[in-house]
């Protein structure tokens, strides 16, 4: 059970936003197996974890342990506290939590932002913190007035005595409340009485983001700071064997050239000087084992791997036998490329390593990993290292680095030059820098009976794992199957009697990592385009086929029906237009998209309209859900256009001219419909991505009769003969 603790009197907490007195509450969450003793009974072992401070100045500060990368989590989590606290929303502020085990993710056991879980994982803890604070403030007021707490109520950061109408503000009550023991077992609000949660509250971070005042990692400056850019190996796994830095050091403003394990750093007074210096470096590289890596050859290798069985992710009935016995067999082979996250803010990190301590400022999604990596790289104890999380100029999974490479680089360079250093990645460094969504090769087949029923489904996936060999392996890899490679395929919702899904691990080498919606980015494309193909083969409407196979999945059905109805699936389209749909569950939420497209004579696809329906269970902020669906749709549409490929071991793409992302003129009309739902809460940061690309591919077939079996789309595939 979570336990709320009063930390107001703990002097060592009085720093930063927590200074100045007032009521400071933490929420203690015993780790599984730990005795459910009240934490204050064992103060020696108890570590503070302030989540909420109410200041004498009427301010309400929520300390947020999740990173703000655009998803609106600073505002969403603050809303949860403010709701139970009955706080005046205009007085609420947010501060990033430091890296500390007490701020660990309640499900993942490390401090991390990912998996579209921030709201669901903090829902209970923050409601309890807010409700307990409110009860303590009411108690403090009742004591001051010598009345029963039950005769008082809270509203907009004030406590009101009902009979007399006298009022005390939270600011006035913060100090007396800080002397009270937390009120135990405070009842939480009935959701029917929510006034903030469920409403389109304005985000707290918007005002600073329209004036240029918002501080991202790249904007951090500390006194005496130098700027570094790195020359990294041109091929992954390469190493510098000889470095001539003389010409680089001759560039005005260049201070030092430092070799670290990940490359050669040019350290200068500013970015431009560092970059000019880097261009003058003369380096002989040992290119390592991947110097011949070529995307076409890699595809052949994946095809070869797909010819033999992999680790079984799902087995139901006997798919092989049923395929052999079916009247008709359809097979599809699909290829999906490496993808770069390409957040608008290129990677960067500021580190200040001193003999007795180290500070790191960066926009990170993975504080715990970075904290330990920084301590190791600095040669310091973890308690000597502080991680300061800034705003993130986009994350999409790129800033949750399992090896903390972008933090390690800055720490190593700062340590070497004995000064604070900001390492800046150029856009080219960022695109060529790896940690991509793995490329995937899929072979999928299904059997149809005489009357068009799907009798068997066999799906083989070939891709790299980025989980095996990391601390997450024990939790994510089961029976030899990396769940992030088969999610969205192994949990196929369609009612088919015989199913086999297996996974062949592709050789590692190219650094890969999670990208917004992870395995679902490729599995949903395969499953949803193939189902469309089966519908066509069986002479059925793709909506009707899905409906008939999802009878036991009401949440899938609800979003599918809603999106189809809002789109007008039963109405004819204009001439020259095609339509397609897809539905997919990921991260606990259900999303269907229906799209309308056209294709030019030269094979260029224009997406005119996307109608989205989502069921994510209880809603905190409907406008944030809409914003995330809009963002997911644009992100998903971008995957129609770009890829990372290799020739001679080198990444071919360099910048946005050859790694195009969606622009304003390519953005369709987007409608988002939120299905009212009292089912379990799901995430919203990622689930809108997976069904986008397959819905478009299905629409292309609807219009042209051509199946898209690889991404990105190539105009040549669709050009009219």
């Amino acid at each position: 059970m979570t336990e709320v603790v009063n930390l107001s009197r703990r002097g060592f907490l009085r720093a930063g936003a927590l200074s100045g007195g007032g009521l400071i509450l933490g929420v203690y969450l015993p780790t599984p197996g730990e005795a459910a003793e009240p934490p204050l009974a064992k103060p020696a072992s108890f570590k503070p974890n302030a989540f909420l401070r109410i200041g004498s100045d009427n301010s309400v500060t929520v300390i947020v342990n999740h990173s703000e990368m655009g998803q609106g989590i600073y505002s969403g989590l603050a809303m949860i506290v403010a709701e139970e606290l009955d706080a005046d929303w205009t007085k609420v502020k947010v501060e990033a939590a430091p890296a500390d085990p007490v701020y660990n993710h309640t499900m993942y056991g490390v401090q991390i932002t990912g998996g579209s879980t921030s709201t669901i994982s903090e829902w209970d803890r923050l409601r309890k913190a807010g409700a307990t604070a409110r009860a303590m403030l009411i108690t403090a007021a009742a004591q001051a007035w010598k009345v029963a707490p039950g005769s008082c109520r809270a509203n907009k950061s004030r406590v009101i005595h009902q009979e007399s109408g006298i009022v005390l503000s939270y600011g006035e009550l913060a100090e007396p409340a800080s002397r009270l023991a937390p009120v135990r077992n405070v009842p939480l609000k009935d959701p029917a009485n929510f006034t903030l949660i469920g409403t389109p509250v304005k985000r707290l971070d918007t005002p600073d983001k329209v004036t240029g005042a918002a501080v991202f990692g790249l904007d951090v400056t500390v006194p005496g700071m130098l700027v570094a850019v790195l020359a990294r190996p041109p091929v992954f796994g390469g190493k510098a064997i000889r470095v001539n830095s003389a010409k680089a050091l001759a560039v005005s403003g260049v201070r030092r050239v430092v070799e670290i394990d990940r490359g050669v750093a040019v350290v200068a007074d500013g970015f431009w000087q560092a970059r000019k210096g880097r261009a003058k470096l003369e380096i002989d590289w040992d290119l390592g084992d991947l110097s011949a890596l070529d995307s076409h050859m890699q595809r052949d290798e994946y095809v070869e791997l797909s010819r033999s069985p992999g680790a079984v992710a799902r087995k139901q009935g006997d798919a092989e036998a049923a395929l052999a016995a079916s009247a008709r067999v359809l097979e599809s082979v699909l290829d999906l490329p490496y993808l770069a996250h390409a957040p608008m803010e290129p990677l960067n990190c500021v580190a200040d390593v001193r003999p007795d301590g180290c500070d790191v400022w960066t926009g990170t999604q993975a504080q715990t990993l970075d904290h330990h990596a920084a301590a190791l790289a600095a040669g310091l104890k973890p308690e000597q290292v502080k991680i300061h999380t800034t705003l993130l100029g986009g994350g999409f999974g790129r800033r949750a680095a399992l090896d903390s490479h972008f933090v390690r680089e800055a720490v190593l360079v700062s340590k070497a030059v004995k000064a604070p250093v900001k390492v800046i990645w150029t856009r080219e460094d960022d695109l060529k820098g790896g940690y991509y969504r793995p490329a995937a090769h899929h072979v999928i087949s299904a059997g149809l009976s005489e009357d068009g029923q799907i009798t068997a489904w066999k799906h083989r996936i070939v891709c790299q794992s980025f989980i095996i060999g990391t601390p997450f392996e024990a939790a994510i890899v089961k029976d030899g199957v990396d769940e992030t490679c088969v999610e969205g395929a192994a949990d196929l919702p369609y009612e088919i009697p015989n199913i086999l899904v297996d996974w062949k691990k592709a050789p590692s080498g190219v650094p890969v990592q999670w990208l917004r919606s992870v395995g679902h980015t490729h599995t949903a494309f395969v499953v949803e385009t193939f189902l469309d193909e089966l519908a066509h083969a069986a002479g059925k409407d793709p909506l009707e086929l899905r409906r008939s196979l999802l009878a036991k999945h009401p949440r899938h059905l609800r979003v599918l029906d809603r999106a189809a109805q809002e789109f007008g699936w039963d109405k004819p389209l204009r001439d020259g237009r095609g339509r397609g749909l897809a539905v997919h569950q990921s991260f606990g939420s259900y999303v269907a998209h229906v799209v309308e497209i056209s294709v030019s004579k030269t094979g260029k696809i224009t997406v005119h309209r996307v109608v989205c329906a989502i069921d994510c269970g209880p809603i905190v902020n409907p406008d944030s859900i809409r914003a995330q669906m809009e963002g997911c749709i644009v992100f998903g549409l971008s995957t129609l256009h770009h890829e990372i490929t290799f020739t001679d071991g080198r990444v071919k793409q360099r910048n946005f001219h050859d790694y195009p992302v969606l622009r304003m003129n390519e953005t369709p009309e987007i409608e988002v419909h939120i299905v009212k739902s009292t089912d379990s809460m799901g995430g919203v940061g990622e689930p809108g991505v997976p069904p986008v690309a397959p819905a478009v591919a299905n629409a292309v077939f609807n219009l042209t009769g051509k199946r898209i079996r690889r991404l990105p789309f190539r105009a040549d595939d669709l050009k009219q003969a």
């Binding site: 790249l218 400056t221 500013g270 963002g631 304003m664």
Partner: protein
Amino acid sequence: MITIRVNRKEYHVDVEPDTPLLWVIRETIGLTGTKFGCGVAQCGACTIHLDGEAARSCVTPVERAIGREIVTIEGLPDDLGRPLKDAWIALDVPQCGYCQSGQIMAAAVLLRENPNPTDEDVDDGMTGNICRCGTYPRIRRAIHLAAQAIAKGAAR
């Protein structure tokens, strides 16, 4: 020493003449609202106004800005800046927010040149500015909202 005017104030900066204006503004002068996104005029995150025209500061050598009026997001005048920022806030346009300074700077020039843009005009005017979070539908609406607010203000 090079002298430039940024947001109606003079700065004497000791930088090489080929240094992109972006880094002078960010690192030397310390105004960090203007962002680095691509370095090759592909994304628009670094958009500033140079004598009233939208310019990509990442590819503009500082020497080319000498004697010209440089305006960054921090100094965007209220006549266009206020209605745009208000519209951005009213529609909660930003997600991560990193590209939004550039978006607003581009939108200001668009509205000055075309006070009543169609969707197509907005697309044409804003296509040089990338938003990876996908806030385009809201940017489009916010520009129309700002245009309406400016028109109302003028009619009053």
